[in-house]
């Protein structure tokens, strides 16, 4: 499914060709191998390109992310450069001051990395396992639902759960949003909103 364009590789090939032929025409043929060896490989030439869109505002500028690592099992891919996608019909390669800083968002020091838990009344957050967190949250949700679920209003079946709220994100994918909807609504939750208003 992944679509990989290789603009950089192509450009590099063209550039090298021009350089070689013009040097050759000036009679410096012997210098060519030495010259080629002295030029450090263009950093992005070794990277893998991935197409994405900026997650900030609603223009949704196309971006190209350059990452090291070929996604094989033993190589951990890491993005080292992000720039505007010149093929994109709206931003045409440009990014704004927000989008130009995307790399620092991806590698922010204050990204969350591990499930954390703060016990009632505690002054600190502690690292916990995913299993602990998910089991505990499932238990809290089920207990509250069982306790506060409203099946009937008079004779009318209403099947709603009001007492736990859910907020959907503003930059998650449509596919995430749809699955979230499925999970939340199938529990009868009605205290449910997204970030469209703020």
């Amino acid at each position: 499914m992944t679509m990989q364009m290789s603009r950089r590789t192509l450009m590099k090939g063209i550039g090298a060709g021009v350089a070689v032929s013009s040097l050759g025409s000036l009679g410096f043929a012997a210098l060519e191998p030495a010259m080629a060896a002295s030029v450090r490989a263009y950093k992005l030439a070794q990277t893998r390109e991935t197409r994405n869109t900026c997650p900030y505002c609603s223009v949704a500028c196309g971006v190209i992310m350059y990452s090291l690592g070929d996604k094989s099992k033993n190589a951990r891919a890491s993005v080292l450069h992000i720039e505007g996608d010149p093929d994109h019909p709206v931003n045409r390669g440009t990014l704004c001051p927000k989008g130009a800083g995307l790399l620092d968002f991806v590698h922010s020091e204050t990204r969350t990395k591990y499930p954390m838990h703060r016990a009632p009344g505690s002054t600190e957050m502690k690292r916990v396992s995913w299993d602990f967190a998910l089991d505990r949250i499932a238990r809290l949700l089920k207990d509250d639902r069982d306790k506060n679920f409203i099946a009937k209003s008079g004779d009318v079946t209403v099947n709603r759960w009001v007492s736990t709220g859910f907020l959907g994100a503003s930059a998650t994918t449509n596919e995430t949003a749809y699955l979230t909807y499925k999970v939340v609504r199938s529990m009868g939750a009605v205290t449910f909103d997204n970030q469209a208003r703020v």
């Binding site: 922010s108 591990y114 009344g121 449509n174 199938s186």
Partner: protein, 811 residues
């Protein structure tokens, strides 16, 4: 957006009001510059601040925050008084000739039927007169005193340029200059694009701000046109998508609604959704509601949704109020009625009004779960950060989870931008440390809860146990599996419009193939067509642009049906010819509609059938008068913000929007101008996005520190110099900030009094790489738009004084 980003290049006039796209949507704003350079377009900016958008405007006009309707109704009056209408368009494509019921009126700032106690209207008279044939009565001569055009004239009569100056503080000459320019687009070959954002929605009458400009655009014939339209520039990358998919208290995907308690059975529910045409022969596309609804229930509940059980209608919760919106939810939480909150990629502690109320509400919850790629303030609401978050953790008994999630760079899927384009993206790196995708987390929670219900039983487990879960890996559904389900597929052999059989188990081509007999499933009908048998349409990357229209129809996929400009049938005259060659978008070729876009119309419906271009409306035409469809009036009327330096000059007794809901405690916390004399407004900065980029080092370097922006005049009055610390406070809170003394804000002369505006940016908090600061929500009131409960973040009152720097926060 009814149109799309690149379409702005076709505009002849661009009005930016209620937004600041040069700073908030910079790469989209390029198309405004393109229009100026290549199309000789004129840019008008109407804003309380001289923004970067204003700096490249042909005309900039200041306006007092929260007075847009007075301005826009006066524009409407100007167009009517000077006969600057696109008459043929208005007559054929709007409800200008429809006759409204006897008894409808407007007096002292209120429409007929107001109930002060309920802050609500009985809207019975806000409807058309229905004739003996069952259709709305229309007077094509527009002379009937109760026809919409006459009522509109009457409604806007009081909005004179002089009144604009007194209410808005906008100089009369500037106002008239803008009217003249706007009026130039009433000719068929010139169009105006309206660009707006949260500067219009963040008001207690936000929906009516938009309505007011919509009326202007309809009178000018600018809807459905190249370079025209009402263009909402959404604030985030996928709130368009989350709204389309129905992630709101009262919605089902695709703008269907969750049942209300009074809709006891499916038959009751459907009885309000038949959308019988109000004029002969109209499309009234919502007549297909049943197909979208049944297909949704089949996607959701699979085999458990049967004809016999009304397609599992009882699996859906029913509402007893209009919605459990967040203002209501946190009001309940303040009373201890909300046990917990699960929060995905959202920072409500900083984003919802009255932060003190938010802190109190979270402190009363048993638990909160925050799923986010960044360390948010919300996940740390219980932590003591000195002046920036003064709480006692030991006194807060809330259990808190912070779950690390992937960000865009690590996940795959589609986002829906302002242009309604669904663009697919791919992952470029692995998730950091133990972060997981929101899909995996939500799926895992579902499976664990389901297992608990299987084991223990409990409250009505049926919908949880029976929800359709056809994913190859149960706890990690793939984005393409979900996208296919959103698009929809056949469950049995069905026949398409041509009679050809589509076998069971195939992706449908679009929503036209959906059925109401359980033979199709579709997660969100407006997205149907995004992932067909031809593959993932959202992943298309052909940027070819036939006719240089900026449409690039094979780049990604736009909802609905890959249509790029909504209502595009209206780009042609009633006979099917483009209104002007230079605005050519679609045309009737004698047998079908052809052109640069997908027709927003029956593709073979001939012009002589007199089917209106606004096919979703039972009228077939656009509504200058919206009947009872909005809670606060069929026409927009000027109301002051709930906290305003000026009484409502058109109706002095009315505070705020009379139909807005406001809770008692929040009402008691409103301030008066004698104590809080300055008009405050909030906004975004070029260098930051919401509360995210303060976590990105380069952005934190570019804009490292919170500030408030005041005029040189207010600074002089208060003895404040540039860079001094000031305290700004409202009845709900107090903040400290450095003062930016600026020429970008000037006092406005409103009804003979100088009104000072205080600008307060978003973006700062107590986590991330910027210096600690506050958000505007420490000060803002809890009251929302009457229709949709968007909080009034753009117009409230504060006081201000010079002060000392804040204490160093606790590490």
């Amino acid at each position: 957006m009814t149109n799309h980003w690149a379409d702005i290049k076709h505009a002849d006039v661009i009005v930016v009001m209620g937004g600041n796209s040069a700073e908030a949507h910079p790469c989209g704003f390029k198309w405004v510059i393109e229009a100026k350079v290549k199309n000789n377009a004129k840019l008008v900016v109407i804003d309380p601040r001289f923004t970067r958008t204003a700096s490249v405007a042909d005309i900039y006009c200041p306006i007092r925050p929260g007075t847009d309707i007075a301005f826009l109704n006066a524009v409407t009056k100007y167009l009517l008084d000077h006969d600057k209408l696109q008459h043929e368009y208005v007559n054929a494509y709007t409800n200008c000739g429809f006759i409204v019921k006897e008894g409808f009126g407007f007096q002292d700032g209120l429409f007929t039927g107001y109930d002060e106690e309920k802050r609500d209207y009985d809207k019975a008279t806000w409807e058309y007169e229905i004739g003996p044939d069952g259709y709305a009565v229309v007077d094509p001569t527009l002379q009937h005193p109760r026809c919409v055009m006459q009522l509109l004239k009457q409604h806007v009569a009081q909005y004179t340029p002089e009144l604009v100056e007194r209410i808005c503080g906008s100089p009369k000459e500037k106002f008239l200059q803008i009217c003249e320019l706007i009026a130039t687009t009433s000719v068929p070959d010139r169009t105006m694009s309206s660009l707006y954002a949260l500067g219009w929605t963040h008001h207690s009458k936000g929906s009516q701000n938009i309505r007011a400009m919509t009326i202007v655009q309809m009178l000018l014939g600018n809807i459905g046109m190249l370079g025209g339209g009402m263009n909402a520039l959404r604030g985030h990358s996928n709130i368009q998508g989350l709204t389309d998919l129905g992630l709101m208290s009262n919605l089902l995907p695709g703008y269907m609604t969750l049942p209300q308690e009074r809709e006891v059975t499916l038959a009751d529910y459907m009885s309000t959704k038949r959308f019988k045409p109000l004029r002969p022969g109209q499309t009234s596309y919502w007549q297909n509601y049943g197909k979208f609804f049944v297909s949704f229930q089949k996607a959701f509940y699979g085999k458990a949704a049967t004809k016999e059980n009304d397609w599992a209608y009882d699996y859906l919760p029913k509402l007893d109020v209009l919605a459990y919106d967040v203002l209501r939810a946190f009001e309940m939480a303040q009373d201890g009625k909300i046990s917990g909150y699960v929060i995905q990629g959202f920072n409500p502690l900083m984003s919802f009004p009255n932060r003190a109320k938010m802190t109190e509400a979270f402190s009363k919850m048993k638990f909160i779960v925050v799923m986010d790629p960044l360390q948010t303030e919300t996940a740390r609401f219980w932590q003591d950060h000195g002046e920036y978050n003064a709480v006692d953790p030991k006194a807060i008994q809330t259990e808190v989870f912070e779950l690390p999630t992937t960000c865009f760079a690590e996940d795959e899927g589609s986002l829906s931008n302002s242009s309604r384009w669904l663009q697919w993206h791919w992952a470029a790196q692995e998730a950091p440390a133990e972060a997981r995708s929101d899909i995996d987390i939500m799926a895992s929670l579902h499976l664990r809860i389901k297992a608990l219900y299987e084991k223990e039983g409990g409250a009505f487990p049926d919908p949880i146990l029976n929800v359709n879960w056809p994913y190859e890996i149960e706890d990690a559904p793939r984005p393409d599996e979900l996208a296919r389900e959103i698009n929809g597929y056949t469950l049995a052999d069905i026949k398409d419009a041509s009679g050809a059989v589509i076998p069971a188990g195939k992706q449908v081509d679009g929503f036209a193939q959906l059925t109401d007999d359980g033979t199709t499933a579709c997660g969100c009908w407006v997205y149907s067509g995004c992932f067909t048998e031809k593959g993932n349409q959202m992943a298309r990357r052909d940027n070819t642009d036939p006719g240089d229209r900026g449409i690039a129809p094979n780049w990604a996929w736009a909802w609905p049906s890959n249509r790029r400009i909504l209502y595009n049938r209206a780009s042609c005259d009633p006979q099917g010819k483009p209104w002007a060659e230079r605005k050519k978008l679609m045309e009737w070729n004698g047998s079908r509609w052809v052109g640069f876009d997908v027709p927003d119309y029956g593709p073979t419906v001939a012009p002589d059938k007199n089917v209106g271009p606004f096919i979703m409306n039972p009228e077939g035409v656009a509504r200058l008068f919206v009947r009872g469809l909005m809670r606060d009036g069929p026409f927009p009327a000027h109301y002051e913000p709930f906290e305003s330096p000026q009484a409502n000059l058109t109706a002095p007794k009315i505070r705020g929007n009379p139909a807005s809901r406001i809770f008692k405690r929040d009402l008691a916390q409103l301030g008066e101008p004698k104590d809080y004399p300055y008009a405050a407004t909030s906004y975004r900065l070029t260098e930051h996005f919401h509360f995210w980029t303060k976590h990105a080092r380069v952005n934190a370097i570019l804009q490292p520190e919170f500030f408030v922006e005041i005029s040189e005049q207010l600074a002089a009055e208060k003895g404040v110099s540039r860079g001094d610390w000031v305290r700004v406070w409202s009845p709900r809170g107090s903040i400290k900030a450095k003062a930016v003394v600026t020429k970008r804000i000037k006092p406005l002369m409103c009804d003979g009094k100088a009104v000072h505006v205080v600008g307060i940016p978003h973006h700062f908090g107590f986590t991330g790489s910027t210096k600690p600061g506050f958000g505007p929500n420490s000060l803002t009131p809890v009251v929302g738009d009457a229709n949709i409960e968007t909080p009034e973040f753009k117009a409230w009152l504060v006081n201000l004084e010079r002060t000392t720097p804040p204490a160093v926060p606790v590490a």
